[in-house]
């Protein structure tokens, strides 16, 4: 593999890692709220989170390019804050990836939180556990499988992202040329050997990740005496 390809591998790992961390920090409270709220706006928020599942990446990429551009709302905000503009930067890719991978992190977490019985949280409350304590000492540990699924899917889905990155990235080596774009470039230029090396590596990566996920989250036999 060439140095350029290795740089694409490192960049992709960095992007996926950063995106996953941001998504866990943003997504866990959001998922907790979605799981517990009785708000009438819940269907609207849940739909907004799920939108990237049904929208083509070209739609997301197009709106990101326009809104983060110099005339766009986000672009004017980031410029006013002295951050410059986001397209063609690593930070811009993180923003795009966070939006694009959002449902893959929030939905498993939300399902895990919804599965936690209210009486456990109420019991914790009678033992004088405050809301934060209940979240960190009861909810998060019980939601561990959901947390694992959310992290792995968030990471893997960001590695597998293509359309949004292609549209807002500008294909800059070392800062926005991620693996999926590098593969595309090799294929377009008829460099099939280089494309194979990267593509086969990604197939193997995806398989290993998903097998690991299914093994780790395999439902265990319930201990005797417990019933629903």
């Amino acid at each position: 593999m060439t140095a350029a390809d290795w740089s694409a591998v490192r960049l992709t790992a960095a992007l996926a890692f950063t995106t996953t961390v941001v998504l866990l920090i943003v997504g866990a409270p959001l998922a907790w709220w979605l799981a517990r709220t009785r708000s009438r706006l819940k269907p609207l928020w849940a739909s907004l989170v799920a939108m990237p599942l049904v929208l083509p990446p070209s739609v997301l990429g197009f709106y990101l390019l326009v809104t983060m551009g110099p005339q766009g709302v986000v672009g004017q905000l980031t410029q006013a804050l002295g951050l410059g503009r986001l397209p063609f930067t690593f930070a811009g890719l993180v923003v795009g990836s966070v939006l694009y991978s959002m449902p893959f992190v929030v939905q498993p977490l939300q399902q895990a939180f919804e599965a936690i019985a209210d009486n456990l949280l109420e019991a914790a409350a009678t033992l004088r556990a405050g809301p934060w304590d209940r979240f960190f000492s009861v909810a998060l540990p019980l939601a561990r499988p959901g947390l694992v699924t959310a992290s792995v899917l968030g990471f893997a889905h960001t590695v597998g992202e293509f359309g949004v990155v292609l549209m807002i990235g500008g294909n800059i080596p070392g800062s926005t040329r991620v693996l999926s774009v590098a593969v595309y470039d090799h294929v377009e230029a008829s460099e099939f050997d280089d494309a194979h090396r990267l593509a086969a590596g990604m197939v193997a990566f995806a398989l290993v990740v998903l097998v690991t996920l299914y093994v780790v989250n395999r439902p265990r036999a319930e201990p005797a005496g417990m019933s629903r």
Partner: protein, 275 residues
Amino acid sequence: MSSIPERPRPLFRPYRYKLDFTMSSFRRALLLALLIAGAVVTSLGRAGEAQVAVAANFAGPMAKIGEGYTAATGHTLKVSVGATGKFYSQIVAGAPFEVLIAADDETPTRLVKEGLAVPDTHFTYAIGRLVLWSAQPAFVDDQGAVLASGKFTHLAIANPKLAPYGQAGMEVLKARGLVDAVTPKLVTGETIAQTYQFVATGNAELGFVALSQVAVPGKPVSGSYWLVPASLHAEIRQDAVLLKTGENNPAAVALLAYLKSDAAKRVIQAYGYGR
């Protein structure tokens, strides 16, 4: 708890239709109209259709030329727009294109050599002109001095590996001795069309695009541009060729003939291409 299972209720009640086969004269007329419309549509289908792969820089003129072609021949076109390099890979892989209207002369030559295009059908339909364009008025001067000014953070260019206009842009930077200074600011579009979009949205302050994208006949030029002197880069000879798949399709053969007509030449010149 009763042990007798309840009889399942039918989901749908049976309903008896009474069909009326007698027709009012209005309905009869409607049916006749539909039959005629159907016959017209089928005969249009028979008039022939050619599947064309068109280089992104030529998308605008091609739409105009397509209208004239259909009016003159009765045939219709199915146009795909993209990067010439991509079309090459797709044609090698068996894409159903019948005519390639490329952005260079190398790709058609190569396809002829590899037996995928029909020899002797290959000709230069236009000479491409490169411009350095910005969506902001008065940003690009008419000497291209802005390239050396450092006034910009991003310069958009089509992927030089895939797009002849990208290659020409790199040659201009080389001629000006700016490759090292500008390379960190380059953002690469997959096609000249994506490059245009980076500049049009203002995300890149300027970029190398085709004159045909900026100088659309009948529309005022937006922003500012420098028409790069043709001496600063190798000539962008744009060739068209009949592909093997279209050898026996009269519509495909007619398109290449129409591309050489005066009507087509006028459109090509109006978009600023040399000949």
